[in-house]
Amino acid sequence: MSYQPHWDIIYQYRHLLLEGLQETVRLVLAAMPASLLLGLLVAAGRSFLRGPWSVLSKFCVAYVEFFRNIPPIVQFFFWGFAVGLGVFPAALVALSVSSSAYIAEIVRAGIASIPRTQAEAARSSGMSEWQAIVHVILPQAMIRVIPPLSIEFINIIKNSSVAMTIGLAELTFQTQEIEARSFRGFEAATAVTVLYVLLASVVVGLMHVAERLVRLDVRKG
């Protein structure tokens, strides 16, 4: 006797799937810019701070090591149960902070890959260090790291599922909800898988468009 999937379950519980999708998208849409901004700040701090500011630079190193070595689920528990933030805020902070550590390293590598001669050219025309960083170094660095950034953005989508452990009713949580109500876990999981793949594809697609837009100038000729 083999398993007979009842795909109509998906239609029957579509409101749960939609709710879950909504929560996941909300979380991911907020976490992506937050982690990007945090990661950018930390990477810039590590790459550019010198002299009296180098204490902050060491802090950035510690930040990266700390938050990328601790499993996401532990970070979710920390913000949700130890610190006691609400479900969505805790999920957002945990997801943003843990991803920002990886993004910081990605951006730092991008910054380091820009030849020193670019900064020399910029500073030689009288630009301040800040102006050279903002107008010459960072734009080039960010263009270069679009591919590895898209990897990390997909990780954000995947790690968002951990939020169910602190009570967020996102997509993966809904799999279990539907299973509990209908015993049709397989169909639910399949539907959720397809939705995750779709989300990831959207992100990848957007990154490709972005890359083609900004790199057109770099790749031509």
């Binding site: 001669t117 670019q118 020399e120 050219a121 910029a122 500073r123 030689s124 025309s125 009288g126 630009m127 301040s128 102006q131 107008h135 010459v136 734009p139 080039q140 263009i143 900004v214 100038d217 770099v218 790749r219 031509k220 000729g221």
Partner: protein, 260 residues
């Protein structure tokens, strides 16, 4: 005649104010000494060419003038401002010094026009319109006005270097430094860049040019300096330098470089 002392040069150019005064500058990279008490003066409006084998320190001297490199000993004063001081307003100083690099160093993520406009916009706080007008005029001056909207990667080496020159000129500097501007170019493109530099010289720009282009030096330089192993070996106006080199090292260098 031998190597004229710095004093002789001052006497010859005492009518013109000094733009660059580098006195006894020495520099070490760790244990290696790359500049040995180099003294070099450039008067306003003068065109000085520096030549020499690689490792002679000629590019290093150039880079010390706008403080891309620092010296451990000695003093450099540019247009009255002390470069080697404890805390010079380095950005303000650099705004008055234009530099053109061997590898062009254009900003690849910006159009040619934006490359030229960027510093005037940010440093001189020009309006967008003024900066653009200025940039287009400079592009015309270097001979490639049609390339304004192109990106550096779409240009030939000679065109890129001319954009680099325009970019340096956009800040209306008092002094232009050229670090082997044609060394990275295919031979066919060298003359188009040298023509632009020669025109600049004819306009009265104070220039310090590190180059191997001896034909250019002969035509355009007021003075040619030969450096080797961190010191100035010989220094003379082009007729004397090429026609009657004094030091054996100079003669050896010239014979090697002029033979092909």
């Amino acid at each position: 005649m031998g190597r004229p002392l710095a004093g002789d040069c001052d006497r010859r150019h005492s009518s013109r104010p000094t733009m660059i005064a580098a006195d006894k500058i020495s520099k070490w990279y760790g244990p290696v000494q790359v500049l040995r008490e180099v003294t070099l003066h450039v008067a306003k409006g003068e065109v000085v060419v520096v030549c020499g084998p690689s490792g002679s320190g000629k590019s290093t001297v150039l880079r010390c003038i706008n403080r891309l490199e620092t010296v451990q000993q000695g003093r450099i004063v540019v247009d009255g401002i002390e470069v080697t001081g404890p805390s010079p307003d380095i950005n303000r100083l650099r705004a008055e010094i234009g530099i053109v690099f061997q590898a062009f160093n254009l900003y690849p993520h910006m159009t040619v026009l934006r490359n030229i406009m960027l510093a005037p916009l940010l440093v001189r706080k020009q309006t967008s319109r003024a900066a653009e007008e200025n940039a287009r005029a400079l592009l015309l001056k270097v001979g490639i006005p049609e390339k304004a909207e192109a990106y550096p990667s779409q240009l030939s080496g000679g065109q890129q270097q001319r954009v680099a020159i325009a970019r340096a000129l956009a800040m209306q500097p008092k002094l232009m430094l050229f670090d082997e501007p044609t060394s990275a170019l295919d031979p066919e493109m060298i003359s188009e860049v040298l023509d632009v530099i020669s025109a600049l010289a004819a306009d009265g720009m104070t220039m310090l040019v590190v180059t191997h282009e001896m034909g250019f030096a002969r035509k355009v330089a007021d003075r040619v300096i030969f450096m080797s192993e961190g010191t100035i070996v010989e220094e003379a106006p082009p007729e004397a330098f090429f026609g009657n080199p004094q030091m054996p090292r100079t003669k050896a260098f010239l014979s090697k470089i002029l033979s092909h």
